[in-house]
C-alpha cells in the first residue's frame, strides 16, 4: 500500500470511527439532533480525510517540480479525478521538461566542445603571431590598439597591455604609420599596401606594410589589421646589386674602351711608327687580359657559391706561396713607392691547400693594401703557427687610409665597397668576397680584419696546418 493511500484510509477511518461512535451514542441516547450531528460529523470526517489526502498529493507534486526532473509522480493517478487531471498535465510538462533538459545538455556539450576547439585554435594563432617576425597590429574603430604581437611591440617600441587599450596615436611614435591606419579606417578600402621608412637605432629601415579593413555585415569598420614586413635587407641587397651592376659595367667597359680605341687608332693609321704600333697592340692585349680576369673573378665566386668549383689540394709550404704572391705584386707596389716586407720562412708550415686559390687570396689582400696605401707607405705580410690549435695565421698589414668601424663587419660581403674610400681607389667589391669564399667555403678556414682610419688596416686568414687537415679528412 502506498503512503498516500494509507493516510487517506487512516484519516477516513479516524473520522468514521469518531462518527460511528457518535451515532452509536446518539442512537443509544435516542436524541435525533445528536444523530443528525453525528451524521454531519461523519461527513466532515470523510471529506477531511479526502482533503488531507489531496493536500498530501499536492505537496508531493510540489516536491517533484522543486527537486527536479528525476523524480516521478509518487502516487497513482485516479482517472477522472481533479488531481488526476493535474497529474496528467504535470506528467506532460515533466516529459517536455525532460526532453528540453536533455536537448540543452546536448547543446551544452556541443558548446563546450566548440569552446575547446576555439581555445585550441586561439592558442595556435597566438603561437603563430608570437613567433613570426612580421609586426602585427590590430586597432578598432576608435583607433585603440586591440592586439600587438611581440614583433610589433619591439619594432614600434611599446608594451601592449590588453587590459588597458590605448589609442594608436599615444602608443606609437610613428606619425606616418598612424596616419595610414586612420586613413585606412576612414576610407574602408579592404586592402592597402604601402612602403614605409623610419629610423631605428640610427639605422634607416624600410617596411612593406599591408593594412586590411575588417567590417561587419552592414559595412561598419570593426578593425584595421596592419602587418609590417621588414624589407630593409632586401632593399640593401637590391641597392648593392644595382651598385654592383653599375661598377661591373664600368669595370667591363673601361678595358673595352681601351681595346676599341687602340684598335681604331691602328686602323686609322695613327700609330706613326713600328714602336707606337707595338705599344698599341700591347695595350690591347693587356686590356683584354684584364677583362678576362674580371670575368673570371665573377665566375669563380659564382662557382664557389654553388659548390661547382674544381679544387686540387696538396701539401704546400705557406712561406713559399706567400713569397710567390709578393713577387707578383712588388712591381705594382714599387710604382707607388710602397715597401713590401715578406716573412722569414718558418719550419713546419705545411698547409693542405689548392695553391692557385690561396695565391689568389694573398694577391688580393696585397693588391688591396697597395691600392689603399698612399705613396711612401709600408706593407708587411706575416705568418704565425699556433701549435695548440694546429693552425697557421697569415696577416697583411698596411699603413693605408684605414676603414671606418661601421664598415668593418661588411668588408667581406659581396659587392660591398667602403664608401669613404671610393675616392682613393675603385673596385668591384668582389676581391675580398672571393678571399672569404676560398678560405672559408673551400678550405674550412676563417678570415678577419681590423683597422684604424687614417693609420692602416690588417687583413688576415687562418687555415688548419697540413697534419690537422689530413686528420680531419681521415675522420
Amino acid at each position: 500500500m502506498k503512503k498516500d493511500q494509507f493516510i487517506w484510509i487512516a484519516a477516513s477511518a479516524a473520522g468514521l470511527a469518531a462518527g460511528g461512535a457518535a451515532i452509536l451514542a446518539a442512537v443509544l441516547s435516542g436524541s435525533v439532533s445528536v444523530i443528525l450531528l453525528a451524521i454531519v460529523w461523519l461527513s466532515i470526517a470523510l471529506t477531511g480525510g479526502m482533503l488531507l489526502h489531496h493536500i498530501h498529493q499536492l505537496k508531493a507534486l510540489e516536491r517533484v517540480f522543486r527537486v527536479g526532473s528525476q523524480m516521478k509522480i509518487p502516487f497513482e493517478i485516479v482517472p477522472g479525478s481533479v488531481l488526476g487531471d493535474i497529474a496528467n498535465a504535470a506528467n506532460c510538462l515533466l516529459d517536455e521538461t525532460h526532453q528540453k533538459i536533455r536537448q540543452m545538455q546536448d547543446e551544452n556539450r556541443d558548446l563546450m566542445l566548440q569552446m575547446q576547439l576555439l581555445r585550441r585554435r586561439k592558442s595556435g594563432i597566438e603561437a603563430v603571431l608570437n613567433s613570426i617576425q612580421d609586426g602585427v597590429l590590430v586597432t578598432d574603430d576608435k583607433d585603440r590598439v586591440l592586439l600587438a604581437n611581440p614583433a610589433a611591440q619591439n619594432l614600434l617600441g611599446f608594451e601592449f597591455n590588453k587590459d588597458n587599450a590605448c589609442l594608436i596615436q599615444d602608443a606609437v611614435n610613428w606619425p606616418e604609420l598612424v596616419q595610414l591606419i586612420v586613413k585606412s579606417r576612414q576610407s574602408k578600402i579592404p586592402h592597402v599596401r604601402h612602403e614605409l621608412s623610419r629610423q631605428k637605432d640610427g639605422r634607416p629601415m624600410t617596411f612593406d606594410s599591408v593594412l586590411s579593413c575588417v567590417e561587419d555585415d552592414v559595412g561598419n569598420v570593426l578593425q584595421i589589421v596592419t602587418v609590417l614586413h621588414d624589407i630593409t635587407r632586401e632593399k640593401e641587397i637590391s641597392q648593392m646589386k644595382n651598385d654592383f651592376v653599375s661598377h661591373v659595367s664600368h669595370e667591363l667597359k673601361t678595358p673595352l674602351a681601351s681595346i676599341n680605341a687602340y684598335a681604331e687608332m691602328l686602323v686609322d693609321g695613327e700609330a706613326q711608327d713600328a714602336e707606337t704600333m707595338r705599344q698599341f697592340c700591347s695595350v690591347i692585349q693587356g686590356q683584354a687580359q684584364r677583362l678576362s680576369r674580371l670575368i673570371e673573378d665573377i665566375l669563380n665566386i659564382s662557382r664557389i657559391e654553388s659548390g661547382l668549383v674544381k679544387v686540387s689540394r696538396q701539401n704546400h709550404s705557406m712561406a713559399l706561396v706567400i713569397q710567390d704572391a709578393v713577387d707578383m705584386i712588388v712591381s705594382y707596389a714599387q710604382e707607388k713607392n710602397i715597401s713590401v716586407e715578406a716573412p722569414a720562412p718558418i719550419l713546419y708550415d705545411q698547409v693542405y691547400i689548392d695553391r692557385d686559390m690561396i695565391s689568389q687570396v694573398i694577391i688580393n689582400l696585397l693588391s688591396n693594401a697597395v691600392k689603399y696605401t698612399p705613396s711612401g707607405g709600408q706593407i708587411a705580410i706575416r705568418s704565425e703557427i699556433n701549435e695548440l690549435d694546429g693552425t697557421i695565421t697569415v696577416t697583411v698589414t698596411d699603413t693605408g687610409v684605414g676603414i671606418p668601424e661601421k664598415d668593418l663587419p661588411y668588408v667581406f660581403d659581396k659587392f660591398y665597397r667602403v664608401e669613404a674610400n671610393n675616392k682613393y681607389a675603385k673596385g668591384t667589391g668582389l676581391g675580398l668576397n672571393l678571399v672569404k669564399q676560398i678560405v672559408e667555403s673551400v678550405h674550412g678556414g676563417s678570415v678577419f680584419a681590423s683597422s684604424t682610419p687614417g693609420k692602416g688596416s690588417t687583413f688576415g686568414f687562418i687555415l688548419p696546418l697540413a697534419k690537422a687537415a689530413a686528420a680531419q679528412m681521415v675522420s
Binding site: K253, S258, E264, K423
Partner: protein, 128 residues
C-alpha cells in the same frame, strides 16, 4: 696658328693616352690629369680651350670637377665633354645646369671624340 689646348682627365692611363695621342696627331696641345682635383689645378694654370673628363674618378669625380670649374670666373666658360662608363647617362637637367657640352658613353671612338671636340670649339653644343 696657335694650337688649341686640351686637358684630358681620366684615372685610366690608357684612356688618357689614346685620346691624347689622337688629339696631338691632330694639332692639339694636350695636358693630362688622373683625377678631378689635379685637373682643376691644371685648368686654373693653363686655361685650356676644352676639357675632356671621365665621370667616375677617385678624389674628385667628373661632376664635382665641372661644378668647381663653373664656380670660378676664370674657368667657368671652358667647355667640357664628359665620358662615362656608368650604366646610365647624366640627366639632361644636370647637363644643362652644369653646361656640359656633350656626353659620350664608353667604349667610345677616338675619331668621334675628335669630331665632337672640333664641333664644340666651333661654338655648337652637341646632342649625343
Amino acid at each position: 696658328m696657335e694650337k688649341k689646348k686640351a686637358l684630358i682627365v681620366d684615372d685610366e692611363f690608357h684612356i688618357v693616352q689614346v685620346v691624347a695621342i689622337k688629339l696631338r696627331n691632330n694639332g692639339f696641345d694636350v695636358a693630362t690629369a688622373e683625377n678631378g682635383s689635379q685637373a682643376y689645378d691644371l685648368a686654373c694654370q693653363t686655361k685650356p680651350d676644352i676639357i675632356v673628363t671621365d665621370y667616375q674618378m677617385p678624389i674628385m669625380n667628373g661632376l664635382e670637377l665641372i661644378e668647381k670649374l663653373r664656380q670660378n670666373p676664370q674657368t667657368a666658360a671652358i667647355p667640357v665633354i664628359m665620358l662615362t662608363a656608368r650604366g646610365f647617362s647624366i640627366e639632361d637637367r644636370l647637363q644643362e645646369q652644369l653646361r656640359v657640352s656633350a656626353c659620350l658613353s664608353k667604349p667610345f671612338s677616338p675619331r668621334e671624340v675628335l669630331g665632337i671636340i672640333e664641333e664644340v670649339l666651333k661654338g655648337q653644343n652637341v646632342a649625343v
